[in-house]
Symmetry: C2
Amino acid sequence: MLTKRQLIILDALIRLNTSTGNPIGSKTIMNNTAIKASSATIRNELSELEKEGFIQKTHSSSGRIPSLKGYRFYIDHLMRPQAVAQDKMNIISDVLGTHVKQMDDIMHQSAQLLSELTQYTAIVLGPRAETSRLTGFRLLSLNDNHIMAIIQTDKGTIENKVFRVPKTISESDLVKVTNIFNHHLVGQTLIEVAQKLQRDIPLLIKKYASNATEMFLSIESVFKESTESRHHISGKLNILDFSENMDTKKLKSLYTMLDNSGDLYALVDQISDDFVVKIGEEIDHDLLKEFSLVTTTYNVSNYGKGVIAVLGPTSMAYDETFGVLDVFRKQLTRTLLEYYLE
Amino acid sequence: MLTKRQLIILDALIRLNTSTGNPIGSKTIMNNTAIKASSATIRNELSELEKEGFIQKTHSSSGRIPSLKGYRFYIDHLMRPQAVAQDKMNIISDVLGTHVKQMDDIMHQSAQLLSELTQYTAIVLGPRAETSRLTGFRLLSLNDNHIMAIIQTDKGTIENKVFRVPKTISESDLVKVTNIFNHHLVGQTLIEVAQKLQRDIPLLIKKYASNATEMFLSIESVFKESTESRHHISGKLNILDFSENMDTKKLKSLYTMLDNSGDLYALVDQISDDFVVKIGEEIDHDLLKEFSLVTTTYNVSNYGKGVIAVLGPTSMAYDETFGVLDVFRKQLTRTLLEYYLE
DNA sequence: TTTAGCACTCAAACACGTCGAGTGCTAATA
DNA sequence: TATTAGCACTCGACGTGTTTGAGTGCTAAA
């Protein structure tokens, strides 16, 4: 339905808009495309594109900005993910390629690097942790009054917490508690573990190691942390760059929301395998109506999928973002495959 | 030099100013003090106070706001720290009284609670870590390719890090490395440790456990973390409430600075034992010229002093802040005394 | 089908007028 | 001598023009 020239104009308009953030007029397009036509001709085409709903004016005599439909069309049909420069590629594989890290470190550094490369806000979520199984539990006496609890899951996450205990806890109580946990909890999913921690375990501890009940609460908190799915978010301050006139109230709500892992998971939960872009109004969250969210998934070996996302302005450089995101997706999947293979 | 009535007026003006944040006029003062005088009389007194430099106008016909000298005088001579309500006291001792926590947890939760109670931004710094001595080092093999390094200092901090290692590291190499560390580093201050980690240790590891060099870098990073003095900051978003028209650029610099532990230490480094208030211009930092910083110290048993600080608007409720801060200072000192006694 | 030309529109920037909260000053008062 | 009522004055906030410039749609000629 759109003529070739209209496509070129739409493409140019969106490219210009995403790089400057401003509405684009007919002259600007004339000076930035190979089209051999006057601004008047381009005005006619713009008018047509507007009638079709791809672009819109911010006021009656303004230049055009892409409409939601326009961005949508651009992303679905016109945009080509931009190749990532070799030096950036090198940095990415340097950072993600090192194997000395834990899962959490990898995700954290991915978020950092991604936000740095895009100058937007990066979100990295680990795979849902509910189905993890507990594979190891140990208590380690560090000194007279500190012990460390370490729990491991089959997905390779290792969580630990150090806490103080009253002197009254004996070495043998430690062993008893460890045995109770190993006997009753190892092999279970973390959901089952959480349930048993509420129901059965307190009784057992009371029975076999009566002095250890104080310790129990602390141990419980370690499990809680490991059940909580991990979220890493980086470049939050970049929001200040691309939404310059947001009032402080909104800003506060927004930042509060971004710190809440539940909200983040809600945001990207229905994400399918491939790239998904939600533009402005499409995002199911009041505070994000003026942003765009580009998400994709990565594989955590055979253990499920994690999510990588970039939050930026609706007039985001989609082509670059897609390019970078694709590199991360592949590199993360590769890194994690090796991680679990070894 | 100031008459009794002038003192009452100055006191009222500052109280009104700190609770509303606005300039205060003669009528407002008339309606909010026991002074039996007309607004005209109060105007004369205000004029006098202005001549003396305690208050100032924002423009030629505006109400008055306290000047730096006014705030200073108020804090030094007029203000009485406000008693903290019993329910708040209870919350504080509940949170800080529990002994199951580590140092870092205690500081972290103090910051959280302090920012919540004041609605400003709370900063809690641990004592300088440079003089800590290493008291314990161990390597713990968690499974085939994860080991955990744990280091302890004489100040009770315990730091750990889990990292992956290539399979090639044998149990005996682990023991060798542990021995090298224990033999050469335990008992030294963390500064000395850092130096030796650069100079001597790599050679020793190469000599006695040649396969373990890869592991070395990771271990080094654990030490780095433990040397870094701890800083905990909470309620950063509250800044958005009390500086409503700051542009996004400044806001970004400010937040970046608050995340930098070096900057924070520089800010409060010369803090003496007692309460110190720095008002606006008095703060030695460009970004904080429109804020006030109230700081005090707490004792970490015999191991040095930490700093607690509240960052708020210059028109902060100083009396409340002092009250709350004093409770924290005492409670923290008490908690940490017990912490190290047990 | 394209385009030059023109009338039109609107946001942004600036100037101007009004309102009200607040001031300083003065002359009368206690 | 200290207080105060009264009044002229100041200035920010706010609302209302005005001007400017970038951009538009429309039309008539090429």
